[in-house]
């Protein structure tokens, strides 16, 4: 197999699928997408039922009597009651514990109604969907009884259930009427109808209910007649009263049979004829007509990476390469693919790095990665790779930084608000904190550690300088002040290139923010260029750091100037020492004279033993003209 052909695939099936007994004459397979359980029912249950839940749960094994063909089988949410539908007007219930089934009791729906299906909506709450509506029952396993909680009537031809949001779509008039229904604990609410073009029909398999970016969504695959290609219409259930609003259209550019999955808030549309899948992100910008955004695939359509499973052979087990996009595939939300003939359940995952390779545009990649759960390392690597290129695309990097800092700014604002809100010592809200944290969060520390420290800056100082400037510019754009480490890095980068003119302009225009450590650092560069001394002093003046300015002036021998800005806390000894070292007796005189005649210092001068030596020295120098009176 040519591995290279598949290196550009960005879709992957889980390498260790959940394996179950394949469908054959004796075995029927069912999937319950509430619990994500796969049921393999042999000979109607007599030969055993094997239930495999998600990874990490123990498979269940039990037998049940064969009382006819099983139409549907589902455990309650806590796996304590098994519901089996064999006939069109009743559901049989069995209490389940220790891998054995207990006595049976059954729930019948209203007369003249046909059961279309049932779901466990809450713990011990069973919703039966019939062609006349929904009946909601509360099951009391201890008493082997049940009680009707609520019914609603509606004409239903088929329905789709979303276990995550507890929302069902009831379809009538061949799918041209779509009625969303929210099932809550003990009650059922009809939501506003889905507004579709009148008379436009839809098949059950073309309607998908799921969640995108925390909002319940309804996706309807719309096949077009003639030369037009198919589209997916995305209705977000976020209008008033959860009203569905058609907000996005995904343009497929193909026609034929499709299946939809959702992975990490991306919409994945599989196309069987071309054996490839297209990927859409409704969060990315698209053409808009004011109410609806039109999206094209974010990357070229690709197939899954090849996958294989181990099958027992005659002599030894052998690898079997799985057929991709097989006609036996059935998909479930959000990201499940089942091949019943093969007995495999896979989870789809997206290889973000490969996906970004396909997209190429750094701005799009950044937006995409920022919203993916595993986006951070990928995005950082992408940035680093882009920057280490020979000629990094500055504009694209700037765009990328802007996306990153947009998230950063939002986070900072939220953080500020929550600290303001909880300014009196109140109960910390760990939950809201975690909610605040964006999926991918890259702050200045992260940029410094993961990007700027990893660029070999000695190699190409100009490049580092430009990229830093670009990042700082983006920070400024979003009103985030730059931290000391970034400022220092920029100063160092410029100083190493001896670009003091540039440095000065950056300080002048406030690009490099003032801080005492930075001022000290600039002072240390003083021997390289006179401008850094000026910048340092200006910076200290802006910070109103009188003491530091004094030190600088003293070290430059400007004793009197230092004395002028000194306040009452000044230490005479420091000034006397500096004056003495200046070897200028007039200066020495001035300093002593100043302290002696200032009532704040006159007393101090006498108390401090360490000052005595200076006074003695003074008296020696000026012994002729006694001014001490």
């Amino acid at each position: 197999m040519a591995e290279t052909n598949h290196s550009d695939c960005y879709l992957e099936l889980s390498s260790d699928p959940i394996r179950f007994e394949a469908v054959n004459q004796l075995t029927n397979v069912f999937f319950d997408d509430s619990n994500k359980d796969v049921f393999a029912v042999r000979s109607g249950g007599v030969m055993g039922v094997v239930v495999k839940g998600p990874k990490g749960t123990k498979p269940l094994n039990f037998r049940m009597e064969d009382r006819g063909t099983v139409l549907s089988i589902k455990f309650s949410l806590d796996h304590k009651i098994l519901a089996v539908q064999r006939v069109s007007n009743s559901i049989e219930l069995m209490n389940f514990s220790d891998e054995t089934l207990d006595s049976e009791y059954s729930v019948s729906c209203k007369k003249n109604s046909n059961i279309l299906g049932f779901v466990w909506s809450f713990l011990n709450e069973l919703a039966i969907v019939t062609d006349h509506g929904i009946e909601l029952y509360s099951v009391i396993p201890g008493k082997k009884s049940f009680k009707q909680l609520k019914t609603i009537s509606a004409t239903v031809q088929w329905f789709v259930w979303c276990p995550a949001n507890k929302i069902a779509i009831l379809a009538s008039a061949h799918g041209s009427q779509l009625q969303p229904v929210a099932i809550k604990q003990g009650s059922i609410n009809k939501l506003p109808k889905v507004e579709t073009e009148s008379g436009r029909m839809a098949l059950e398999r073309d309607v998908t209910l799921a969640t995108l970016y925390s909002t319940p969504v309804l996706l309807i695959l719309r096949h077009q007649s003639g030369p037009q290609t198919a589209e997916v219409h995305v209705h977000m259930l976020n209008g008033a009263g959860q009203a569905p609003v058609k907000s996005h259209v995904l343009k497929l550019g193909l026609s034929g049979r499709f299946a939809i999955n959702l992975v990490d808030d991306l919409v994945l549309v599989h196309h069987q004829a071309s054996r490839s899948s297209q990927l859409f992100d409704i969060a990315l910008p698209g053409e808009s007509d004011g109410s609806v955004k039109y999206h094209t695939p974010i990357a070229p359509a690709k197939s899954f990476k090849p996958t294989s499973i181990v099958l027992p052979g005659l002599v030894e087990s052998e690898a079997h390469i799985c057929e991709l996009y097989s006609p036996n595939w059935v998909v479930f939300q959000p990201n499940i693919v089942i091949d019943a003939k093969l007995g495999c359940l896979w989870h789809i995952s997206i290889c973000l790095e490969e996906l970004c390779d396909q997209i190429k545009d750094l701005g799009v990649c950044t937006q995409l990665a920022l919203k993916r759960s595993d986006g951070k390392p990928v995005l950082l690597k992408l940035l680093l790779d882009t920057i280490t290129q020979d000629k990094p695309p500055l504009e694209k990097l700037n765009e990328s930084f802007n996306h990153i800092n947009f998230v950063y700014r939002d986070w900072a604002e939220n953080e500020l608000q929550s600290t303001l809100a909880s300014s009196p010592p109140s109960v910390p809200l760990p939950e809201s904190k975690t909610n605040n944290q964006p999926r991918v969060f890259i702050d200045q520390n992260c940029m410094t550690e993961e990007i700027f420290q990893k660029i070999n800056s000695e190699d190409d100082l100009t490049k580092t300088e430009r990229i830093l400037t670009s990042y700082l510019s983006s920070l400024a754009e979003y009103g985030i002040s730059a931290q000391y480490n970034l400022n220092k890095l920029l100063v160092t980068t410029l100083a190493k290139q001896e670009k003091f003119t540039a440095l000065q302009q950056l300080v002048q225009y406030g690009v490099i923010s003032d801080s005492k450590p930075l001022a000290v650092f600039l002072l240390s560069l003083g021997n390289m260029h006179a401008s850094s001394n000026q910048m340092a002093l200006d910076m200290l003046a802006r910070l109103d750091a009188k003491e530091e300015i004094q030190e600088v002036l003293l070290s430059e021998g400007q004793v009197l100037s230092a004395l002028k800005i000194a306040d009452d806390t000044a230490q005479p000894r420091k000034f006397l020492n500096a004056a003495k070292n200046a070897d200028d007796s007039t200066l020495f005189h001035s300093v002593i004279y100043y302290f002696r005649n200032n009532p704040n210092f006159a007393a101090k001068l006498k108390q401090d033993d360490r000052v005595v030596s200076y006074i003695n020295e003074y008296n020696v120098i000026f012994s002729d003209c006694d001014t001490d009176k």
């Binding site: 000629k391 500055l394 003119t501 540039a502 401008s531 000026q534 200006d538 400007q558 100037s561």
Partner: protein
């Protein structure tokens, strides 16, 4: 009635004292001589006189050569830019002819010529030449004396016409640069634009960005920028704005102006019709004591001027200019729009306060930035808000600055109740002119302190 004769250039010549050492070959020393009509005999005589003065005075002060010679009617200034090369400028001292009782008497205004100011004009002339042709020595190395004579002829014949003598003052001493005050964000936009341009073309060495007559970003060293700035503000841009206006272009503040495309003002000025790259001046920059030759492509869009210094060995093609235009135009117009927006928000409300604007000149020796509320424009006209005397006092004070050390202050009171205060600190100079009747030193000091607190925010300035 009084009759005034202004200051004039009597002659201006360049010679090399090591040439024509033999008798009758003295004419070889002459590299350039103005006025043109002067006989060789007189030229040789004048050069000989200068050589004599220089040699004679050297005896008394070998450490530095004589810089000027004062006579009643003339002032001669000497400048030795390179070893053995001398540039000499002779000025006629302004003359006032007074007629009293039908007897005319001449009074020469010797005080009107301040040596340091005109020395600055002299050296400026040399630096401007050097910007375009490199050092004198260099032409001799790569060519010969005749080529040098030709170049000097071409350059100075044109240059001397543009020299403004009568309103020269302390600003000539600085040769300073005016920077545009801008917020961090807008400045960073400019910076990113510059970086993009530089990183897109390896042949672009440096970039300088101006808005109207103010610098926002300069990639070149202040000493080069100083000359470059004089060239742009004094010669290139005014000439260009004139042609722009002649072309019937719209007024600068018209809303339609934003539609206007930018264009190169050196090189192919009309890219659509251009068949060749046109004339792109070569300039020599002197950063870190070494020459670097560059092509200077200047691009103008709205009020912004972008100077692009392209490596001297680059083969300039029309294609390159077209690419640059494609890259620059859309981005630059966005940047300019933001600068314009920022500037329009900054219109000073100070005039409404009723106070007269304080008169001061600020100069930073490190980046050569200056600000003056005394000069209403930088065209060296008579447009100044204070008396000429005050400006002269400032220029004189500046000469004494070195005696003040790192920080110091001098205060002068004139007969007509003007107070001129000069302060220097932290590599900066600050001159203030106040007119207060019956003031005393304490009152003036207080006012100066107030002014400093207001005008010198955000920098360290020594307390006095």
């Amino acid at each position: 009635m009084d009759n005034k004769k202004n200051i004039e250039i009597k002659n201006f010549f360049i010679f090399n004292s090591s040439y024509g050492a033999k008798e009758n070959e003295e004419y070889k020393k002459i590299l350039y001589y103005y006025p043109f009509g002067e006989s060789t005999e007189i030229q040789i005589k004048n050069i000989g006189l200068v050589e004599g003065i220089v040699q004679f005075t050297e005896t008394f002060r070998p450490s530095s050569y004589v810089s000027s010679l004062h006579t009643n009617k003339l002032r001669q200034l000497y400048f030795q830019p390179e070893l053995n090369f001398w540039i000499v400028m002779t000025l006629s001292v302004p003359l006032v002819t007074k007629i009293k009782d039908s007897v005319s008497s001449n009074e020469y205004m010797e005080e009107d010529i301040q040596d340091n100011v005109y020395e600055a004009i002299l050296s400026q002339a040399y630096y401007m030449y050097r910007l375009f042709w490199g050092t004198l020595e260099q032409t001799l190395v790569t060519g010969n004396a005749d080529i040098l004579r030709n170049r000097l002829d071409t350059f100075f014949n044109a240059y001397l016409k543009t020299v403004k003598l009568s309103n020269a003052d302390i600003l000539n001493l600085y040769g300073g640069i005016q920077y545009l005050p801008l917020d961090r964000q807008t400045f960073l936009k400019v910076q990113c634009f510059v970086n993009l341009l530089e990183s897109s073309y390896g042949c672009i060495e440096e970039i300088t960005f101006l808005y109207n007559e103010h610098v926002i970003w300069s990639g070149i060293e202040p000493n080069d920028m100083k000359v470059m700035y004089q060239y742009l503000i004094g010669m290139l841009l005014p000439a260009n704005i004139e042609t722009e206006l002649q072309g019937g272009s719209m007024p600068r503040n018209s809303p339609f102006a934003t539609l206007k495309r930018g264009r190169f003002i050196t090189g192919p000025t009309n890219l659509k019709q251009a068949k060749t790259v046109g004339t792109v001046p070569r300039v020599y920059l002197f950063s870190n004591d070494c020459f670097k030759e560059h092509h200077l492509a200047v691009y103008r869009c709205l009020s912004a001027t972008v100077c692009i210094f392209i490596k001297g060995d680059t083969n300039l093609t029309l294609e390159l200019f077209k690419e640059l235009d494609e890259l620059i135009n859309p981005r630059l117009s966005c940047v300019v729009a933001e600068i314009a927006e920022y500037c329009s928000k900054q219109i000073m409300p100070s005039i409404t306060s009723g106070d007269t604007i304080p008169k001061f000149i600020y100069f930073n020796k490190i980046n050569l930035a200056y600000k003056s509320t005394i000069h209403l424009d930088n065209k060296q006209t008579e447009n100044s808000t204070c008396s000429k005397d005050s400006l002269k006092i400032m220029a004189d004070m500046k000469d004494q600055n070195e005696f003040l050390g790192r920080a110091g202050e001098s205060i002068v009171k004139t007969k007509n109740d003007y107070w001129v205060v000069g302060k220097n600190s932290n590599f900066r100079e600050f001159y203030i002119v106040l007119q207060t009747k019956n003031a005393n030193l304490i009152k003036i000091s207080e006012e100066v302190k107030k002014l400093c607190d207001n005008e010198l925010k955000g920098i360290f300035f020594h307390p006095f």
